[in-house]
């Protein structure tokens, strides 16, 4: 059963990788014609320009799309996504490897923070329904949940970076510091990460809050909570052993799935803060028509989403005895 599920995940990865390859090539324009136009504008003759572009990118125009595809898939299996066009001579996988830790750090921290904030406040709001905290937080969460992270990011950047000048505006760490294991470097990294993380948290915690609140409210209404109380289980234990685990079950799937989607969500925030993560790489690869880089990024994104789906399915079976893997598949 578990192998069927893993096999399904592999097939899905292959399908998206294939789709990515062809969809990227359907996009209007390509780096060669772009470069060609630049050269033509400078007054270079067409033939000269074509020759120049060919040598620059090492494009073999005689290869068919199918051959390119097979080569691509073969290389991708070895983790080789080719060299970047935008950053000449650097393998795509290196670029991704360098960007990944920054995104995992910021988005991961933000995800965990907003999950913890949402779950704890959501529980309180559910326990004290119609209390002042509930009345304050529920509309606030709904509103912030609807505000996109690039807007909160821009506002944060403007207020704390520009107007107040408390926190750095861009980059992963101060240019004056060389990366090494030192306190100064660590502080610089943290100071630079605060605003991006803040942007994610402000727009994310609301959805966790609302989910947790409604989930807890429905758990509190179930018969087994009354049952637990009737056996003399103290309220705090009922909350810890009965309410919280049962209410968090549906959120757990969302949490694991969000790990997969976190790379995609980082595009705007990392662009705003010039933060050298996956999202930043993404936007520059698209605007620079960097096919190999785009393909590599799409592959990473796809694999992350599908694997987190798989992990969510497998873990859910462990967490909820009522669900079997047959149901999950």
């Amino acid at each position: 059963m578990i192998w069927r599920r893993v096999g399904l995940a592999l097939v899905m990865i292959w399908m998206t990788v294939t789709a990515t390859f062809f969809i990227v090539r359907l996009m209007p324009g390509n780096p060669a014609t772009f470069e060609l136009h630049v050269l033509l504008k400078r007054g270079v003759s067409y033939n000269m320009a074509l020759q120049h572009v060919k040598t620059l990118y090492g494009i073999n125009l005689h290869q068919s799309l199918l051959v390119q595809y097979l080569q691509y898939v073969g290389n991708a299996l070895h983790g080789n996504f080719g060299d970047s066009i935008l950053y000449p001579d650097i393998p795509v996988i290196h670029l991704i490897g360098k960007a990944l830790p920054w995104t995992v750090f910021t988005v991961g921290t933000a995800l965990l923070t907003s999950f913890l904030i949402g779950v704890s406040l959501g529980t309180v709001a559910a326990y004290r329904r119609h209390g002042w905290l509930d009345r304050l937080l529920t509309p606030l969460a709904a509103i912030l949940n609807g505000v996109p992270n690039y807007l909160t990011g821009t506002i944060l950047l403007f207020v704390f970076g520009v107007v107040l000048g408390w926190l750095p505006q861009n980059g992963p760490y101060s240019a004056a510091i060389t990366p090494n294991v030192s306190l100064a470097f660590l502080i610089s990294v943290l100071r630079h990460a605060i605003l991006p993380i803040g942007a994610y948290v402000i727009s994310q915690w609301g959805s966790w809050f609302l989910l947790m609140k409604s989930s807890t409210v429905s758990t509190l209404g179930t018969e087994f909570i009354v049952g637990a109380r009737s056996y003399g289980i103290a309220s705090s234990v009922v909350m810890r052993e009965y309410v919280a685990p049962n209410s968090m079950l549906p959120l757990f799937t969302n949490l694991v799935l969000s790990i997969g989607f976190m790379f995609g969500g980082s595009v705007f925030v990392e662009t705003i803060f010039s933060y050298p993560g996956i999202g930043y790489l993404f936007s520059s690869s698209v605007s620079g028509r960097d096919y190999p880089l785009m393909q590599g990024l799409f592959a990473v994104l796809t694999v992350a989403v599908i694997i987190s789906n798989l992990v969510a399915d497998l873990l859910y079976v462990k967490l909820d005895p009522r669900i079997s893997l047959e149901d999950a598949a």
């Binding site: 179930t222 018969e223 087994f224 009354v226 049952g227 637990a228 109380r229 009737s230 056996y231 003399g232 289980i233 103290a234 309220s235 234990v237 052993e241 009965y242 685990p245 049962n246 079950l249 967490l319 909820d320 005895p321 009522r322």
Partner: protein, 329 residues
């Protein structure tokens, strides 16, 4: 005469229903004695379950115990106890078995871990507790090992209900409230559960209150039966007497509305009319609009509780004059 274990005095429970206050239990007094099983019979909405929930201090949020006493011989009046104090007596002094429509167990924990939680909540050695639980489970014709390692959803409704009874009994409480324990079960499971209750009753000193809408279910088990109508206890008498010599017109009509195996060709008689809605009660006796023996005073004043003997009482103005007539209904 055996000792009184639980004394309920003048209990009043109100519910808030859209700004209105509704008396679900109105001035009910009842006492339970050691080793005794008392049946509490009434139509749905008569307040019998609410009485049990009030005795456990487990009323839903809209419900409120307005006045009255719930005195346990061992610990005194618990009607005003706080939740933490209540959790110390629930389960080991007074416990409850719920209707089996929904499980009262935590769906994501094994029954063994739920038993352990119960023992820990009451500061009982877990190993000793489990030995007792196994012994009781064996008495219910269940395989203790299988039950303890199971999750609630892996058991049938009848099995869950038997485990629920073990849960309510394992700490040897003084009082066990059984709220429609067989209503949601199929006939065979009903039989098994009733046999179990009969078996356990003979071996415990606990007083049991068996709540049901079905006379025939409880009449073979109970020493006494109380009859509730629209939030009032209208009659309480030893089972045999209640059947043969009902003192309240409602009791007389209700017992005749139940088919009996011994009296073959008697015609079943329904009671004309509907029970009143609790938010729109008639003045005076609540049964007066449907009562064939109604008099002017019944519509004006509420009949007081008349104690006929130590274990019999009735709330009807005309009980002494109607006695003979009612016995022949």
């Amino acid at each position: 005469m055996t000792t009184t274990i639980l004394q309920v005095e003048n209990l009043v429970v109100e519910f808030k229903v859209n700004q209105d206050r509704v008396r679900a239990v109105d001035d009910v007094s009842l006492e339970l004695r050691a080793g005794e099983l008392v049946g509490l019979v009434g139509e749905s909405g008569s307040g019998k379950s609410t009485l049990a929930y009030a005795m456990m201090n487990l009323l839903p949020r809209q419900g409120r115990l307005v006045s009255g006493k719930i005195a346990l011989a061992t610990v005194g009046d618990i009607s005003r106890w706080s939740e933490p104090d209540m959790s110390r007596v629930r389960g080991n002094r007074i416990s409850m078995v719920f209707q089996a429509t929904q499980s009262t167990f935590n769906p994501i924990r094994t029954l063994e871990s739920q038993f352990k939680l119960l023992f820990r909540a009451h500061g009982i050695n877990v190993q000793e507790g489990l030995i007792k639980a196994r012994r009781l489970l064996q008495r219910t014709q269940l395989d203790p090992q299988r039950i303890l390692t199971s999750y609630p959803h892996q058991l049938s409704g009848g099995m869950r209900q038997r485990v629920g009874i073990v849960f309510a009994m394992v700490l040897e409480p003084d009082v066990i409230l059984l709220d429609e324990p067989t209503t949601a079960l199929d006939v065979l499971s009903q039989r098994v559960v009733l046999d179990l209750i009969r078996d356990l009753r003979s071996q415990t000193d606990a007083a049991m209150l068996f709540i049901t809408h079905d006379f025939s279910v409880v009449s073979n088990l109970s020493q006494r039966i109380g009859v509730m109508y629209a939030g009032k206890l209208v009659e309480l008498a030893p089972t045999e007497r209640l059947y043969r010599f009902p003192q309240h017109p409602y009791t007389a009509l209700l017992t005749r509305a139940v088919p009996s195996i011994s009296q073959k060709h008697t015609e079943l008689v329904g009671i004309p009319g509907q029970p009143p809605h609790l938010s729109d009660l008639p003045p005076g006796c609540r049964f007066s609009p449907r009562c064939p023996y109604v008099q002017e005073r019944c519509r004006e004043r509420t009949p007081p509780w008349s104690k006929i003997s130590a274990d019999q009482g009735v709330a009807c103005f005309r009980w002494s004059e109607l006695g003979e007539e009612l016995a022949n209904v």
